[in-house]
């Protein structure tokens, strides 16, 4: 079996040691800030900070390589699409036009467009490391408890956590089912024609759904018998008091957000204009 993708491993770095609430709040504030602002200076500072934090967590590359490649592909598609659909959007934004080269028809490459797309790329680069990190350093039950702490009902929070927990088991079931199906001649590999293959996949899904329903019934009786849901609130065994690290992280992210918004909106626009 290969290295589990995007799965939590406790490496006990300063980043891992943060409480779940800190991780969740940090991620949300960070992502929101990066999505709103277009100020190149702030984004650059955030990029450096994000990469430093990512480095501190020392997560092994194999654990996220596949997802990273996937994101990069979408990122490139997105960049191409922006240019195809609105090649002069940068010009519109920054109110000036410095042509580099005329390509064809309405497609002219301008410094404004390049700068705009550079900013979009930068936003990706700021959000992706922190988003990946959030997935890689938060364990599922901690995630549930932090969702609960920021106000989500613990029943919903727990369902999410349990679903995450049982993904490897369902994968194992799927493999067993697929093996026995293949032995009976149900082929789901590329050798089969697409229509037939789709039908075959469905005949594998049926036992998978049945076994999953069985699993759900088992776990919900077990939870029910241990008093789950009897009260509107519950306590958490693993809830940890805030440590210095948490205060540092939260201060940092709030500082980044406040400064970024202040700098960005100081001149009354989300965009940092180098063409004036």
């Amino acid at each position: 079996m290969s290295t589990p993708m995007l799965s939590y491993t406790n490496l006990n770095t300063p980043v891992h040691r943060l409480t779940g609430v800190t991780k969740l709040v940090f991620f949300m504030v960070w992502a929101l800030t990066a999505m709103i602002i277009y100020d190149t200076r702030c984004l650059l500072v955030m990029l450096v900070l994000g990469l430093v934090i990512f480095g501190m967590a020392r997560v092994p590359f194999q654990q996220y390589s596949f997802v990273l490649y996937l994101i990069l592909v979408f990122f490139l598609l997105n960049q191409v699409a922006i240019f195809l659909f609105s090649p002069l959007y940068g010009v519109e934004l920054y109110g000036s036009q410095h042509d580099i080269v005329h390509i064809a028809g309405r497609y002219t490459l301008t410094w404004e467009q390049l700068f705009y797309q550079f900013n979009v790329a930068l936003k990706y680069a700021v959000v992706i490391p922190i988003a990946l990190l959030f997935l890689l350093v938060t364990d599922p039950s901690e995630f549930a408890s932090s969702l609960n702490r920021i106000g989500v009902s613990y029943k919903i929070a727990y369902s999410v956590a349990i679903a995450l927990r049982y993904i490897p088991d369902v994968q194992q079931d799927f493999q067993n089912i697929a093996f026995s199906a293949q032995a009976r001649g149900i082929d789901i590999s590329r050798k089969e024609k697409i229509g037939k293959r789709l039908k075959n996949v469905i005949s594998i899904l049926m036992p998978l759904i049945l076994t999953s329903v069985e699993r759900i019934e088992k776990i919900s009786t077990a939870m029910e018998l241990r008093g789950f849901g009897r009260k509107n609130k519950r306590t958490w065994y693993k809830s940890r008091p805030f440590q210095t690290g948490d205060y540092v992280a939260l201060t940092l992210v709030i500082l980044v957000a406040v400064v970024s918004f202040a700098v960005t909106f100081a001149d009354g626009s989300r965009f940092y204009n180098i063409f004036e």
Binding site: M1, D139, P140, S141, E142, Y158, I162, R165, P168, D169, D173, N176, I177, F179, S180, A181, Q182, A183, R184, G185, I186, D187, S203, I204, M206, P207, L210, T211, E214, R215, K218, I219, T221, A222, M223, E224, L225, R226, G227, F228, G229, R230, K231, K233, R234, T235, W236, Y237, K238, S239
Partner: protein, 568 residues
């Protein structure tokens, strides 16, 4: 004056979806501090009885109740399922599917978290419960990474952490190997003595449970209490044979020898039974019997030659395993969880490829064959039938393998009908699969493989989760198939199965083959038994205590006699 903690009075229950009541007029009282064992065949209502005690009935499974059930002096229907869980703590079977915490500690704490116990008290109580089961060093481990016995300890601690007076065990031995099962029985006994809580155990493996003292045994049959007596009385009553519960092996042997068993002989445990009067009778019987240690000398049908395999390079699962299965044999492959026994079957079927070594079928190397090609000759039946069933109707399910192979429809019909006859499923052919019992579903999966006419049938734990009667039916069915010439390989840690039906047992330990012999000798070798997480049988102790014969020889003569009895 003994204080009743659970009291059924003229209690009946009928599931909403069923036309007949499952429990009829139950009168049963369990007193504080007792240790009670409830036995009964599948479908007798013993699980229903336990669901009534812990509140799953009527809160999770709905239906019609009448009469009275008092838990801790209060009518159960006036309590919520959560309040009931404060009084009756349940340890469910199969710990695997019910872990909710990421660490052992969180899993143990789950009940306390739901009860809003403050964190400091929670940590103190979790540590206390873990120490009671001698498991405190594992608090930070992930439950999924534990062995079967450790998982059982985690779920047990998760119940001990509450203040429930009654501990209810629902088939605690169901998914455990014989060795871990014995450890669990010891553990339950120690918890009972040390905490003084009331213990109620639902289990059909009577001999394993009687390894430690039990105050009372209640036999449930057809939704009624068929017996309520001490173990000694029950073992002498003939009730076990009537209700289809397996009697302990040593008593079975003594009965074959013609000994009369009476309650004052203390027959409930092999260490306590007074054998004085039995020894001469047993001795005469022993000398009149012959063991059967012949192994098949037919041509090899399946050979593994120096097979090694690992899912990753750093973590080999099988090292240099060689074994031969001969045509027409019925062989068991045993070993503890993770010893590589399931991996062997997956290699034979071609789901994985060996890293080195060869697998030969009838002398031909299988390396170039696809999964589907191998499946024409080697059928593989999984442990969980729900992993294999993909069609709503039985006929379609069995026909599936032939349809994907492009067999003409008239021939399909003929072959499916034939195989349904063989499997005793012909009357059900147009039924939906979902209407069948667990054992019948298992038969459907076997039928769906048999219809491809394989020469070899590999079954993963063919009798898991089945009571004695269904076990016998399944195994007699496999014997019939075997008599028709199909070679059968069973992956199992059921020792009765090995003794009663295995012609040969191959034992794996840590990816190596450590034994390959007739079951009587394998099960009498203490080193092998320990390595494979099996245990020696009570016949072994009977031989030692009575001084009649060599242990392995007594086992061997018992097996031969027992098989003779079955065939007649």
């Amino acid at each position: 004056m003994r204080k009743p903690v659970i009291q059924f009075q003229d209690f009946s229950f009928q599931y909403r979806a069923q036309s007949e009541p499952t429990l009829h007029h139950i009168n049963l009282t369990i007193y504080a501090g007792e240790k009670v064992l409830i036995v009964g065949p599948s479908g007798s209502g013993k699980s229903t009885l336990s669901h009534c005690m812990n509140g799953l009935i009527p809160f999770f499974y709905q239906g019609e109740m009448s009469g009275s059930l008092q838990i801790g002096g209060q009518e159960s229907r006036e309590l919520s399922i959560a309040e009931l869980s404060d009084r009756v703590g349940t340890v469910l079977q199969d710990p695997d599917g019910q872990f909710v915490g990421l660490t052992v500690a969180e899993d143990i704490a789950f009940k306390l978290e739901n009860d809003r116990v403050p964190q400091a008290e929670m940590i103190r109580r979790v540590t206390g419960a873990a120490e009671t089961v001698k498991f405190a060093t594992f608090l930070e481990a992930s439950p999924q990474s534990l062995s079967g016995g450790q998982k059982q300890k985690t779920t047990l601690a998760g119940v001990l952490v509450s203040e429930a007076d009654v501990l209810l065990f629902d088939e605690p031995l169901a998914s455990l190997d014989p060795y871990t099962g014995r450890m669990t029985v010891d553990l339950i006994d120690r918890i009972h003595r040390e905490t003084g809580r009331t213990v109620v155990i639902i289990e059909h493996r009577l001999e394993d449970m009687l390894h430690r003292h039990v105050d009372r045994i209640i036999v449930v049959n057809d939704g009624q209490i068929a017996a309520d007596m001490t173990p000694a009385e029950l073992l002498c009553s003939g009730m076990l044979r009537e209700t289809g519960i397996r009697e302990p092996l040593y008593l079975n042997a003594l009965r074959y020898a013609g000994c009369i068993i009476t309650p004052d002989m203390q027959p409930q445990h092999i260490d306590t039974i007074r054998l004085d009067d039995c020894i001469p009778v047993l001795n005469d019987w022993y000398h009149g019997q012959q063991g059967d240690t012949a192994v098949s000398a037919a041509e090899p049908i399946l050979e593994l030659q120096h097979v090694s395999f690992g899912y990753s390079k750093s973590n080999p699962v099988l090292h240099d395993v060689s074994l031969t299965v001969r045509r027409g044999e019925m062989v068991c492959i045993a070993g503890r969880n993770g010893a590589g026994k399931s991996t062997i079957s997956k290699l034979i079927c071609g789901f994985y490829r060996p890293t080195s070594g060869q697998i030969l079928l009838g002398g031909r190397d299988l390396a170039g064959d696809t999964i589907k090609e191998r499946a024409d000759q080697i059928g593989f039946v999984m442990q969980n039938p729900n992993h294999m069933l993909s069609k709503p109707l039985i006929y379609d399910e069995v026909a599936l393998g032939l349809r994907t192979r492009g067999v003409p429809e008239e021939e399909i019909q003929q072959r499916v009908h034939d195989v349904l006859q063989v499997c005793g499923l012909y009357p059900f052919r147009s039924w939906p699969v979902s209407a069948l019992s667990y054992g019948q579903k298992k038969r459907v999966t076997i039928a769906s493989i048999l219809v491809l006419r394989p020469e070899i049938l590999i079954l993963d734990e063919p009798t898991a989760g089945q009571d004695y009667r269904h076990y016998n039916e399944m195994m007699e069915f496999l014997m019939e198939l075997n008599a028709q010439g199909i070679t059968i390989i069973m992956i199992t840690h059921d020792m009765y199965l090995m003794m009663e039906y295995g012609q040969r047992t191959i034992v794996l330990s840590e990816g190596k083959k450590i034994a390959d012999d007739v079951p009587a000798r394998v099960l009498s070798d203490e080193a092998i038994v320990a390595a494979a997480h099996l245990k020696t049988t009570s016949l072994h102790e009977l031989a030692v205590r009575s001084g009649v014969g060599e242990p392995s020889e007594l086992v061997s003569r018992f097996i031969a006699y027992d098989r003779g009895m079955r065939q007649s």
